[in-house]
Amino acid sequence: MRVAFVVNDLQLSGGVGVVVQHARQLVSRHGFEVELVLAREQDEPDWRYPGLEDVPVRAMPSARGERYDIVVATWWETVAASLELDARRHAYFVQSLEDRFYRPDQPDRLGAALTHDLPLHVITEARWIADTLDELYPERRCLLVRNGVDKAVFAPLETAPIRRTEPLRILVEGDADVWFKGVGEAVAATRAMTAPRHVTLVSRSGAALDGVDRALGRQTAEQMSALYAESDVVLKLSRVEGMFGPPLEGFHRGATCVVTAVTGHEEYVEHGFNGLIVEWDDERGTARALDTLATDRALLHLLRANALQTARAWPSWEQAGTMMAGALHALARAPEAAPLDGAAAALATARAAIESQAMRVAERDRLRYRVAGLAAFERVIERPPLRWIAAGPRALWSAARRAKARRRR
């Protein structure tokens, strides 16, 4: 079977990493012919994903001349490009409801939401997404393939180590400037703790926040594995997640988690069994949960031991690849959900509107910058006593404008 996964680029991101893993598994273990097609030209060099050498990468102009059994879009911006390619079936690998990555006033939010309503068969990686998409469009085929975990890198520990006296070692992962990751709130909660703790923050920039003992930049999977292994708790207070991978990787390395009830957590986090679930915007409650783990080391060990047990039952990438192969066969068997004629044109129109709106917003912001000085001057002369002094010239100016208007008429 010949399959093309359409990706925006090959930059470092969780979503692209998942696609690359599936492509590798399909090629090496299931006899698929898989290509990655880049939906747009790249400005930056590709991130070196392991195993990418086994999977050909094409640009759109070259892929347009090919015929595939299945073409799979992997991100909302790649859907229009995927529909340009010739295939027996088109599908959409939905890794999250991607409209939620944008704030309500961002036009991209609407663009992402539109793609979820298209009559495309979907493959998704979490049950909550599958259930939501089923409700949106029951007629289409919605397949589920959970992300695997690299069991060689995140090798499950034999047993969870017992730590009785040291400060609670907390790992916070994510970029503080991504609004839905809740990194600032997580670090604030650790600051509000009373028990001794050691906080490590891993982000792309490596920038430290107040209260962080160790700030680290981009880490390889192997480095993250080592960091999880030396941590007691993974703290994630995200507001938007797809499959919610980091705490699960931590589970493999013997760490428990304190998390919000973000989408994706329900797949493997059980409150009081292998982790603790806290409320959003509850800094004191989160701090108290962390303090509990810092002081009740028997509870900490119970959660860590159960987390490790949960991890053992989670599928490897090999198993996830098998499920993806099965899902693609199921899609190949299924008839199209509905005719896709006009979908590409509709998406192009929507995309043009989004770009146009983005240009208008940019122009508005530019003008706002230009008039900032005048606005400041106006605010100054509106204050007494300048306001009284300016009242005379302002009345004269208004009278002159009215006279000029009368003359025109």
Binding site: R127, A130, R141, L143, Q309, A313, P315, G326, H329
Partner: protein, 345 residues
């Protein structure tokens, strides 16, 4: 060397000379394909390792001593009953079917006990090992059964299976219990079963274990199954498939004047959210005919007591031997002026 140490060393030596893989932690944590029937990693050719000589049943028991991947007459009753129950679930479909095919038939002990006189006109028994299929023929008393030796993850073997099944008209029933978790890939098998269901009137009843709820990682399972994996599987199946959960039960019964009387109407009290030990899916034209069944068997408390006491005694005995060995090694190390080793150094 004192007498205890000598005895311990003799015991170790004897154990080694038996060439029997011990159910040790090392095996549990080791490669999941050791001794496993399916998966290319075990022997390179996708065939079951056959290092153990001897009779069929002895061979299986020797190679898979702890997880009972093959059912024999000595299998723990709980495991045997739950396996039999899956065949009893299938019995109404098998009775009167044109063809019944049992994939991964093993020794046929459970199927023979459960199906009784519920037989199809034609029986096809498939296993990776010819000895197992031959044993199943004997157990089932189906001398005219057709057998096929096949690796169910191999496309060539699956083509042979397809050809064999389609030699006769009228469709049939396929049972596939506790097989897919042993396969390197179950996708070609699933494709075949879905095709047979859609195009050739075959109904498949398939089971997978709930590994996610177990506390021991089964080294013979190449894929891990649980509610999440089941959901993945179900979404690949035809929409009108039937899903069932097999739930363990605990119970008790009266024996009055030496007779159990009629306990056939077993009442199973419901729990709000029962946890499954196994998941069953059925698809094909007769899938909707499945009906709930339950089974119970009186516990062999005497045998259980003997086994548990033996295990406790053995454990205490070997712990004592280990302590003596450790003291002996430390004594040697002191005499050789070497650094002390081990946890109790």
């Amino acid at each position: 060397m004192n007498a205890g140490v000598a005895r311990a060393l003799r015991s170790c030596s004897a154990q080694a000379s038996k060439n029997v893989p011990c159910p040790t932690k090392a095996i549990r944590a080791g490669s999941p394909t050791r001794g496993c029937g399916y998966g290319g990693a075990s022997s390179g050719d996708g065939r079951r390792n056959t290092e153990a000589a001897g009779g069929t049943l002895a061979g299986y028991a020797a190679r898979v001593p702890e997880w009972q991947e093959r059912l024999t007459r000595d299998t723990h009753p709980t495991i045997r009953i739950e396996h039999e129950l899956r065949y009893r679930l299938t019995a109404p479909l098998v009775r009167g079917a044109a063809t019944w095919c049992d994939l991964g038939c093993g020794t046929g002990v459970a199927a023979a006990a459960a199906l009784g006189d519920a037989r199809a006109a034609r029986v096809v028994l498939v296993d990776l090992e010819p000895d197992a299929a031959a044993q199943a023929v004997a157990e089932l008393g189906a001398a005219r059964a057709e057998t096929l030796t096949a690796d169910l993850s191999d496309e060539t073997d699956l083509a042979s299976l397809r050809e064999l099944l389609l030699r006769a008209d009228g469709g049939g029933v396929i049972s596939c219990f506790e097989v897919v978790e042993h396969l390197r890939t179950f996708v070609p098998l699933l494709e075949l079963l879905i095709d047979l269901a859609g195009e050739h009137d075959y109904t498949t009843v398939l089971s997978v274990p709930n590994d996610a709820f177990g506390t021991i990682e089964n080294p013979y399972h190449l894929t891990m199954w649980g509610e999440g994996a089941l959901e993945e599987l179900r979404r690949m199946l035809p929409r009108d498939h039937v899903a069932a959960a097999q739930v363990p039960v605990s119970g008790s019964a009266f024996v009055i004047d030496g007779s159990a009387g009629d306990n056939s109407a077993l009442t199973v009290a419901q729990r709000p959210s029962p946890v499954a030990s196994h998941f069953i899916v059925a698809f094909g034209p007769r899938a909707a005919e499945l009906r709930g069944v339950a089974a119970a068997e009186m516990t062999d408390l005497e045998g259980q007591r003997n086994w548990e006491r033996q295990r406790e005694a053995n454990l205490a005995f070997h712990e004592e031997e280990l302590a003596e060995l450790r003291d002996y090694v430390h004594d040697l190390e002191r005499r050789l002026d070497a650094g002390a080793s081990g946890d109790d150094a």
